[in-house]
Symmetry: D2
Subunit: 391 residues, 4 copies
């Protein structure tokens, strides 16, 4: 059961870059960080428009002088304060992640970065090195990986409940961009601009989520992949609004990923099915409290969040905020992840490497993997959907 | 879209009676009240065991001197402070609600009371009178009524989308008490003790939820009812662990309610189906982001939370914290309700009766209705499941 | 596995009364009887309009001289033939069943009668006595009871898989008559005429189906019941288009039945849920290949038709015509039942009482039970929805 | 509504090659052909073991002298009879289809052949030429294409209800062969033997079904494809038990197919999703009476079989045997197809080319397409999962 009493004498002082007014993702970060009283939101460079950012920040409860016009000023000014921020979350367009994260680590901050953590793999690797040198947490926000049933799936695979993994079917295929909606939607527009978004639109924006989960649950590494992608709204070229990826994993498992923004009528269809020798697991983010467990030759079982028959979570970081039957959702997933971030930061601060060894959270390795996948997909697609090595 | 910026210069100072360590409902209240920064949790009489309550309160961030041994002390001491609490939530066993709520109102506090608000109808009516005299908010916590799709259902019925209502099918029928679990579970045990719980166990504990929603959505009033109830675990007698209620509503509609704690294998089965002349609506709390809308002679439609085709909510109190496709859950429902409480309290404080007239939240009228229903059910059942008038 | 080779050297010579052109139920009988080559359709009095009946019968392949103007002529003429019919199915309006069935038995025929077998209980009891005297099969067509998953449910309850039964929830609630469709639909019109239909419309027409299944699966007998019924389309009074029934079964189990023709937007909603001490079973005729099995404290299981983990059926009468995964439906249920009728008739003809003792098919006892239930409901409702004894 | 009266004065005299005792597919053919009294089963060469075949055929009602030891004898002997067969269905292992179908056509018979119609494309093309020369029907049994909702999907796409097709997602992925079940199962064993089965196991056995439907519904032709396949049970190599295929269709649409026999715990997962510019359609063979229709920006709609809002079928060949709400299944799909075969054969016999032009049934063109697809997949996979042209 979730332990409401877990908190810190002094919550982690925390700021944000990006996530200004109208950003759903900005709200998600703030709601998640503050959910369990482990972070205190005290500073922000929330908007490229400094005035708007300041007004918004103050409305959110920030002091006027801690609403900064840009991240550089924020990092510099906060460093001068005794009560300056200890951690920062970055929720800006993709192409800016690398430089902001670098500056944050150099300023001695723990970092939570939106995915994709960078556009180029090298940048991500450099960030990892820098974080290690600075001895700071460098996390990447895969917001769907905090659901209890995702962790249950991971435990089941690790414990052998389904046998060796053979096939992984992944999808995140919505229909919200089946027409050229970006014309009137700046929040969508930058995602289809390669200079800001990087070499991919929908694979990076959506496909990386179930891909990260597949790695989290199975531990399998990709060996090679083939990507066929399309721009059904032609103005989106060279970026894709639909893609099919086929994977070969090390050890012989295979998989596919369907990432789409033009899957008319679909809400999300973020689904993952893990087929093992003996059984399969299937999870769908629109109905996140259930996990389907299908043993060949037995009736399919519907596992429910919050039930005693589930595997135990790591002590202290249970994802169960209420008993079974009550629907949990997206915000609990995010809050669970930020809870794990807080525990990690605390351990970094205390130098508790033992705790960190046994503690999972979506970190830079998952971020690197996502960037690699996106780049390999672009390489494959741009050569005519040929097979390419992953590394 | 949810407005994250809505908050008060000074959040409402808020305390709790009950909801101590291990209480799921206590956590639900605290998480909901603090979610949108509209309430500040500053005082509590959380436990009958004063020491345990104090330790728990301090772990939750209360000052030591605002962890009180009992509600009387709390109300008295807080009244002396300039920064004393303005509102209190009561999450204690049923039989104590009346006296605590009365004391709170007399102490000049706004009150949120767990359901059933009282055991006897007269007590509830007295509380209503007292709240009016004191000009304070008196709310009753029906935690499932904050889901957007419940409000969508209400809007649809009010706008005539289904025609005149003919039948209402309600259920809340779980299986968690199919054996005598209360032996080792004090949180369950008091609910089956008529001296603490009142004249009903499962009708009051669970049945009141969909019943309240039926009223909220349709506005229909019960005329008469018939209740057949059982104690399948005999030691629970005279309280029931299973009940079937049949309703006659004013105007000719009819309905049924199945409340059960012995529905083996069921998680919740809190469902409501509203059958109108032209169409039906169906909602299920385990999958709360969908609302089924079935027009006779047309394909059934699955409405999804967060979509533009939904009816507009009242400005400023939208239940949409994220776009469609993302699962919201139980905690958002609670947070939405506390958000509405905050707006109501603020209006009471400002004397803004105009706002209050147009503002909905689960208030004492719903609470009275629930108590009436529970009592009428007990009356019916105890006379051999005969029809009884509702009033 | 279904045995396609099971057939008789001479198929049973079989005729029909009623079920003329445009009758869905007539087609269902013919399709079911002929499915496994166990019956040979050779005579009919298919229509009140003799000309139309003859043309229709000939189109169906009957010889001209075996298309009769009425059942009396048919029984008399067929009795004169060496190759006269051995069995007859009756698919006429309710009020005519008793006299036709009586005449058929007196003519030495085995009888399959549509439900309700009669309007009055006494008539049904007389038919039973007559059938015993004549040593003929007297079956009642409950067409949904031939699904394999219904039999699986029965086996599971009998073997104790769910423990003692506590609650039975039944419904058959469609929306096809939410307006006065009978104006232009003679097939619907007679069902709402008490002189033809008997004392009930929708309880008899639909409610008897899940009620029969409940008895089949659990073996429980009703002790008393309460029925509240309405005529939402007023011209249907005194017959109801919506009803709620509450049951007390012998031994302490309880249950409810919702029968409706005005459940707007619903296709059938023929569902049955059997709650036992340990587990529940749930089946829905619109998705008949699945049976939900929910053991308290374990993940719900979805049992699938055609799988080896199901209980064995009685040898020779398996309902499995194909392996699991292939959808079977309504017509297989009917064919399975007629298959069982054929085996029963054959055993009657051979005087094989031992076979008959171990052989199940929907017989007159189920028919009597249905008539009793319908009559008890009418008695209850007409006295103001009071409790009435079943017998 | 289905017209039960449609039949022929003399049913088509029909025989079978293969489909002996224990063959599910044999039973499916016989049940379907005889369902509507349009075919009369009069001859068979049902088994390689002549004795067993004869015994079985006689048990099925064949005359002893029309139970033949092999197809050659059957075609020769039947040709001598005035009442010899007019049509034959071939349900033998894949590698034998070509020669038997050729012999049947040469013997002047109409032919229904199990899929894949041949192993090599050239053989299929030759059969087509031969059928045209002989002026006989040459049909290929894709048994899932007779469901009404599949035809509804086709009508909707043809009428523009979803806009131009962009993506087609197909799967048929069961788990029944997740271990080496063929050791004890001769019916499975030959399917994994390339000499009998041809160049593919599961793509041919299962993948061809949704692939055929995709063509039927959308009319799109494949331009190129890429196939990655595996033999998770190694002894099955070179044939695959799992495959992922990616398609480019003419005109720019894309698609994928997942065919698998090792998808542990899955019953069928035969699904097809057609994504158009405006809306998507989704159908699943395990729940065949529903068709999901999702218009972007509107609530998803669940279309139900048998409802008046569906598009009209071609007169005389409606797939509706009962009103909506009643579950139809696999056997109705087959019967509907054989019904269409009967109408086609009748038109061939009458020389009614006009009827044939407007009449759809799964014919040799669909068969050729399936063989092409299977062969292109094998070519692709064997070169390392490269892209290959379809033709």
């Amino acid at each position: 059961m979730f332990n409401e009493e877990m908190h810190f004498e002094s919550p982690i002082r925390w700021g944000m870059v990006g996530g200004g007014r109208g950003s759903e993702i900005g709200y998600s970060h703030r709601a998640a960080a503050q959910r369990d009283r482990l972070f205190s939101f005290v500073a922000g460079a929330l908007d490229l428009n400094a005035e708007r950012g300041k007004e918004f920040g103050m409305n959110l409860g920030l002091a006027a002088d801690r609403c900064y016009p840009d991240y550089k000023t924020m990092f510099a000014e906060e460093a001068k304060r005794e009560d300056g921020i200890q951690a920062v979350s970055i929720a800006t367009p993709n192409s800016t992640h690398a430089e902001i994260a670098k500056a944050a680590l150099e300023a001695g901050l723990h970092v939570v970065c939106e995915k994709p953590v960078t556009v180029h793999v090298e940048e991500a690797l450099e960030l990892k090195t820098l974080a290690e040198k600075q001895n700071k947490m460098l996390a990447v926000m895969y917001g769907y990986c905090g659901f209890q049933m995702v962790h249950q799936a991971r435990e089941m695979v690790q414990r052998g409940d389904i046998g060796a993994v053979r096939v992984i079917q992944m999808s995140f295929a919505h229909g919200f961009h089946n027409t050229e909606v970006e014309k009137d939607n700046p929040g969508a527009k930058w995602r289809m601009n390669p200079e800001v978004s990087g070499p991919s639109f929908i694979i990076g924006d959506c496909g990386t989520h179930p891909f990260y989960m597949a790695g989290l649950i199975t531990g399998l590494k990709v060996k090679s992949l083939m990507c066929s992608r399309q721009s059904f709204i032609e103005s989106r070229a060279p970026l894709e609004d639909n893609a099919h990826v086929v994977f070969n994993f090390e050890g012989g498992a295979v998989g596919t990923l369907w990432a789409s923004a033009i899957n008319s009528g679909s809400m999300h269809q973020q689904k993952i099915r893990i087929v093992g020798e003996k059984a399969s697991l299937e999870w769908w983010d629109e109905y996140p409290n259930q996990l389907r467990y299908e043993v060949q030759g037995e009736p399919a079982r519907i596992l429910e969040r919050g039930m005693p028959y589930l595997h135990n979570d790591s002590p202290g970081v249970s994802a169960n905020r209420q008993g079974g039957g009550h629907a949990e959702g997206f915000f609990e997933s995010w809050a669970n992840i930020y809870h794990r971030y807080a525990l990690a930061i605390d351990a970094f601060e205390r130098g508790d490497t033992q705790f960190l060894e046994g503690h999972w959270y979506p970190n830079i390795d998952g971020g690197i993997d996502g960037v690699k996948m996106v780049n390999a997909c672009a390489r494959s697609a741009d050569q005519g959907a040929v097979w390419v090595d992953y590394d």
